[in-house]
Symmetry: C2
Subunit: 364 residues, 2 copies
């Protein structure tokens, strides 16, 4: 295992779209989504175990979740959990982790992979092969490498990366990026899908520490001003106090918008290891095993009568008996039962807000 390899896992999200299964005190990344006994965070950490020494695994999160992370990943050094005092999107999160890695590797090289804590990957062997290849590539190249997933459908829920297959710099599956695009509408998604030139933007990145530090300083100088003030304290006992003071002053900006869409040395590595950001009940439904009528049951037993294409998750050991429903989410957790049409799951966020107000946070 290469001791210069680092991994940064972003685990600060709250995942309100999976309410009531996810809650403020137990967001998506900490849930055992598939009843396998392992949370999404645990599965994410485990995927990197053959590539990155555990002392080089950093998890960036909210202080409220630190205990949960230590409980779920007991061999992770406590100081590797970086706590953000407030939510400031992905650029400050990544800048903080890079500042820590810079301090940790003491001027030596570091090859870094950045990943979300709450995505699903179905072909872990292929994932490891791709990440190993990517880490090897960024060790030798001054570039910002993003992972682009080969699309399997004209998905409107993801951003896309347009590749430049013909440019001379292309090397194997690693190619220059032409553009990043926002989530497309249905018609555009169809065009993207058919063209073969567009990959799903997975939000996973690889780079060496010099390349990302140069890019952050160049494109987000205001942000890096904060972290440059901490060069002598990050990695020491004074780091926490420093972060408490300076992190809230960082601009709220994503790494995609702040760096990736601006830098000229961005490359994309085309990959195909069965990926989903598990952003919606619909995506969880798509990925789950179904019965003959297209029904999915997670964690609990279900009996269906004249019912098709539903996803049901109750607390473990419970039984659902469903008659006459089609295309519904039925989710029960800790005193809340949600029944909602799959097509209207984008309303769940509003429902959570309503209920937050109505019940003074009781069910949030």
């Amino acid at each position: 295992m290469n001791k210069s390899n680092y991994c940064v896992i972003m685990a600060g999200g709250i995942g309100s779209r999976f309410w009531p299964f996810s809650r403020n005190n137990r967001p998506k990344q900490f849930l055992d989504f598939f009843g396998t006994g392992r949370s999404l965070l645990q599965m994410t950490v485990d995927r990197f175990r053959t590539l990155v020494p555990v002392e080089n695994v950093l998890v960036v999160t909210n202080a409220a979740y630190k205990a949960t992370i230590l409980e779920q990943v007991p061999d992770l050094p406590a100081e590797n959990i970086l706590c953000e005092p407030c939510r400031r999107n992905t650029a400050p999160c990544i800048a903080y982790a890079m500042a820590r890695i810079r301090a940790h590797c003491k001027g030596g090289n570091a090859n870094v992979v950045v990943a979300a804590s709450d995505h699903l990957i179905t072909n872990e062997q292929e994932f490891c092969r791709v990440i190993a290849e990517g880490l090897g590539y960024v060790a030798k190249h001054d570039c910002l490498l993003t992972l682009g997933m080969r699309p399997t459908r004209p998905e409107t829920g993801y951003g896309y990366i347009q590749i430049d297959r013909h440019q001379s710099a292309a090397q194997g599956s690693i190619m220059p990026v032409k553009t990043f695009t926002e989530k497309p509408n249905r018609e555009l998604a169809e065009v993207f899908f058919k063209s073969g030139e567009f990959l799903w933007n997975s939000g996973m990145f690889l780079w060496n520490i010099d390349a990302i530090m140069n890019a952050l300083h160049r494109y987000l100088p205001e942000l890096m001003l904060q972290f440059d003030l901490g060069v002598t304290v990050i990695g020491t006992d004074s780091e926490e106090a420093f972060i408490q003071e300076h992190f809230p002053q960082c601009p709220n900006i994503s790494i995609d918008y702040g760096v990736m869409e601006k830098a000229s040395n961005v490359m994309v590595m085309e990959a195909d290891f069965g990926w989903s950001d598990l952003g919606t009940w619909g995506s969880l439904y798509d990925l789950s095993d179904k019965d003959n009528n297209g029904n999915v049951s997670l964690h609990s037993q279900s009996c269906f009568y004249d019912a098709q294409n539903n996803i049901v998750t109750l607390e473990s050991g419970k039984l659902a008996v469903i008659e006459g429903l089609e295309n519904y989410i039925i989710a029960e957790n800790e005193g809340v039962l949600l029944i909602c049409r799959k097509q209207n799951e984008q309303h769940i966020r509003q429902m959570v807000n309503d209920i937050q107000v109505l019940y003074n946070g009781k069910y949030s």
Copy 2:
């Protein structure tokens, strides 16, 4: 209070149509249906408290429910709970209770009202007035008096009693019966409802002990043979052993079919005190308070989005968030969630059977 007044409450039913709210070990009559803190049985006993001394209140049930009844009605003398060793329909149940009353009143008169433990009555004051009038009537007349409820809709879920408004014996609201009819189909129910000659058969009866004993001996001699053997032991410590031996030998027959439809001295008292046998989720829905969209929530909080005419009952303190459902039953209790169209609630009995087999009784 007239010490010759007796009341018999039939509480042996299992109420599988309200599964999973009702269970084998906790049938309908023991449930706090409306979240008032009183079960249907408790409400039934309470309704008779001004008319019948508690030592004259008998509850006929299954031995498995005796402890529950004593818990719910702590001032009921334990010996007033008559336990049937097996289910034999209403005629043996009533014959057993009458044999006990005959022994208890020691040859004196007894005016008896027989009622189910699991019906709902909304106007309790009117109920008491009607029952007092009926008890007074049967004290002086050799007749079998049944309570006929003035219909409020062409219900197909009840049997009907046709009255003879013009016969000379009619006295106030107490009239001779022309016929008893089974549950009608929709068309027939409309005719019954419009005619004004048909009342709902409530299954409540009033009579004096001589009148019912004579009728039982005349129309069900085979049944009464069993109880006549026990004349010297019923009401003594030997009663339980006697019943264990002889009750199972009783024919399985209803009091309606065995006696009421055959006897010539049957009268009906027309009443209107807001009655339902709570036989179905639909009847519970009809009787419950509704929000502006026709939704009913029992025991639990509910938020509805684009949802109409549903009935929701979760365990106390839980929250239901319901999107895009119309005319459904949503009922959760002790590890089971049922979602079923109201129009298909007659299938619930089959579902309970299926689940009994599939899960070896676990959720029954």
